[in-house]
């Protein structure tokens, strides 16, 4: 059984506000689900050490990385994307104070 404090801590990491009722239900549900995950302890993965990062892909050969660079977009697409931001000014998306 995970504790209420753990639930609150995880919710904070996830930036998720939960009500008291949600925390109680989450504690019950997560405990049952995490218990079920214990099944994996039975799996013998000793012969198969963890794959390297690139091997996690289903098809390593299709692991096509592109350069990390900005790709120019049509003005109308840019406008639509800015338009969908809840708070904006000119071509900028406005963000609340962080301090």
């Amino acid at each position: 059984m995970i504790s209420k404090e753990e639930v609150k801590h995880i919710a904070k990491l996830a930036r998720l506000e939960l009500t008291e009722a949600e925390i109680t239900k989450m504690q019950k549900d997560l405990s049952a689900i995490l218990d079920y995950f214990n099944l994996l302890k039975k799996a013998d993965t000793g012969q198969h050490p963890v794959l390297t990062k690139s091997q996690h892909w289903v098809f390593p050969e299709s692991n096509n990385l592109r350069k990390d660079e900005a790709i120019p977009q049509k003005r109308e697409v840019v406008e639509k994307i800015i338009q969908s931001a809840p708070d904006k000014k000119d071509d900028y998306i406005k963000v609340k104070n962080i301090l």
Binding site: A14, T19, Y36, H48, L51, K96
Partner: protein, 485 residues
């Protein structure tokens, strides 16, 4: 026969021979939606204006005597997690209730280029998380065969709309069974392609190492037509691959097929009726000349636990973007942290919150090794099980040992459940995915083919193939479809 009962091929013939126009066909579907969808709730948005203008364009072409594509003028429905430019895309979530897609997903672009008519956006479990459709923030889609039951999820509206003749075909997405499960419950054909076969650009991401878009159709031939139309390499999805190099298995017949039946899939927990129906299909295939081979997939017993660590882990990262800043619901707050907390707290539903919590937990320091890393190791065991079961692609049609061409098993341990039956117990809901998730973990293609009925409720047979063996699956499913008629 009603216009809305036609398959893609039949409707195409009708359009070509000018028996009816695309506009007439489109209006017939829109009429059906108006008549039945208030109760069924398969559609979240009906794009009537778009549909009619697309249909009129096709009719112009036909009038001028121009050739038309198979999909030209054919009305379809799109899961509301896939972007259609200028239309709302909600992912059935309050957090995206008023979000308008700024561009087309690659699959939608391809369908538009081939002239398909878009009728609307279909209901789903919020962010495609669920097996019943009940996690939609806008109410569940109902099962057309019994409206007290769920349509299955997460592509609930896509499967229900095709089953209820509200669309000729639909697109769904499948992260852990979300095309196959509702297709099984609604009695339609649903194909989950190989990971990489179809571009996911413009699909709202859930579990990026698992997500795949695919067709939901009235029959196998239609699934083949739609799959061909949407598949292929896309520079905008780095995981997509070129299918040209993969073999065509057109001449494959049941009579020279080796079918694997995993012994681990027919154990306690499976509904007696479902088991009977699936075993009956296997018997029919055997009578038609197929060799039935009992196989073992020893690691599939871990698949569900493995999936419910990996998918939520990826989801917890993917859904971090819904933060009240860039798009979607933004809760009023004093500082940035509160914007995040309150927007997510108010915008996401219970199941999405649960998955974000599971994923955040299994990725958090102190638990990463025991859960996420362990799950990735188990995932490689599951992949290995399937690899060892299938005839290697380079071996052609014959090779020694007990290797199989395809695997037959159920899609779901039970037929469509009652609305509300499992909503209080998330773990029992997850157990419905027991036969579908291993396919996504291994990146394999699989189809749900209507195999019979338990009372009034359809039951689907799952046919699993090796990577990029879609044409093999489709060829055999097509033959079986005729045997089961």
């Amino acid at each position: 026969m009603e216009l809305t009962e036609l398959t893609i091929k039949q409707a195409h013939e009708g359009l070509k021979n000018k028996q009816f126009s695309s506009k007439e066909l489109t209006l017939a579907y829109l009429e059906n939606i108006k008549k039945t969808d208030k109760e069924l709730n398969a559609f979240l948005t009906v794009t009537e204006d778009l549909a009619i203008s697309q249909a009129e364009k096709v009719d112009e072409k036909i009038k001028k005597g121009e050739e038309i594509n198979l999909l030209e003028g054919i009305p379809c429905a799109i899961k509301d997690a896939i972007l259609v430019e200028g239309q709302k895309c909600t992912a059935a979530s309050k957090i995206l209730e008023n979000y308008v897609a700024p561009y087309d997903a690659t699959v939608v672009k391809k369908l538009k280029e081939q002239g398909a008519v878009i009728l609307g956006k279909t209901n789903l479990d919020e962010f495609a998380m669920g097996g019943s459709g009940e996690n939609s923030a806008f109410g569940p889609a109902k099962n057309p065969h019994d409206k007290t039951r769920v349509a299955g999820g997460s592509s609930s509206g896509s499967a229900a709309s095709v089953a209820a003749n509200e669309a000729c075909f639909a697109l769904g997405s499948d992260t852990g069974g979300s095309i196959r499960l509702p297709s099984s419950f609604c009695g339609v054909v649903g194909l989950k392609p190989t990971y990489g076969a179809v571009s996911r650009y413009g699909l709202i991401a859930f579990g990026s190492s698992l997500d795949q878009i695919g067709p939901i159709t009235k029959n196998v031939e239609d699934a083949k037509i739609v799959f061909k139309a949407i598949s292929g390499k896309d520079p905008l999805d780095a995981t997509s691959v070129d299918l040209e190099k993969f073999k065509n298995y057109k001449n494959l017949k049941i009579s020279n097929l080796r079918i694997g039946v995993p012994k681990e899939y027919f154990v306690k927990g499976i509904d007696k009726e479902v088991e009977k129906i699936i075993k009956n299909v296997i018997k029919k295939a055997e009578d038609a000349g197929a060799e039935i081979i009992e196989i073992s997939l020893p690691s599939v017993e871990f698949a569900l636990a493995c999936y419910y660590i990996i998918a939520p882990s990826e989801a917890s990262a993917n859904l971090a973007r819904f933060d009240g800043i860039k798009y979607g619901l933004s809760a009023p707050a004093e500082n940035l942290l509160d914007v995040y907390l309150k927007s997510k707290g108010r915008g996401f539903g219970a199941e999405v919150k649960r998955r974000i919590m599971i994923g955040t937990y299994t990725l958090s320091s102190g638990y990463y090794d025991a859960y996420y890393k362990k799950a990735q190791e188990v995932r490689s065991l599951i992949k290995k099980d399937f690899k060892e079961a299938f005839v290697p692609p380079e071996a052609g049609s014959r090779c020694g040992g007990k290797k199989v061409d395809l695997i037959f098993c159920p899609v779901s341990p039970c037929p469509g459940i009652k609305i509300g039956e499992k909503t209080d117990d998330p773990l029992s809901m997850y157990l419905m995915d027991i036969y579908t998730v291993s396919v996504n973990l291994a990146g394999l293609p699989a189809i749900s083919l209507p195999a019979g009925k338990a009372g009034s409720l359809p039951v689907g047979l799952q046919i699993i193939g090796n990577h990029f063996a879609e044409s093999k699956i489709l060829a055999i499913a097509s033959e079986l479809e005729k045997l089961l008629k």
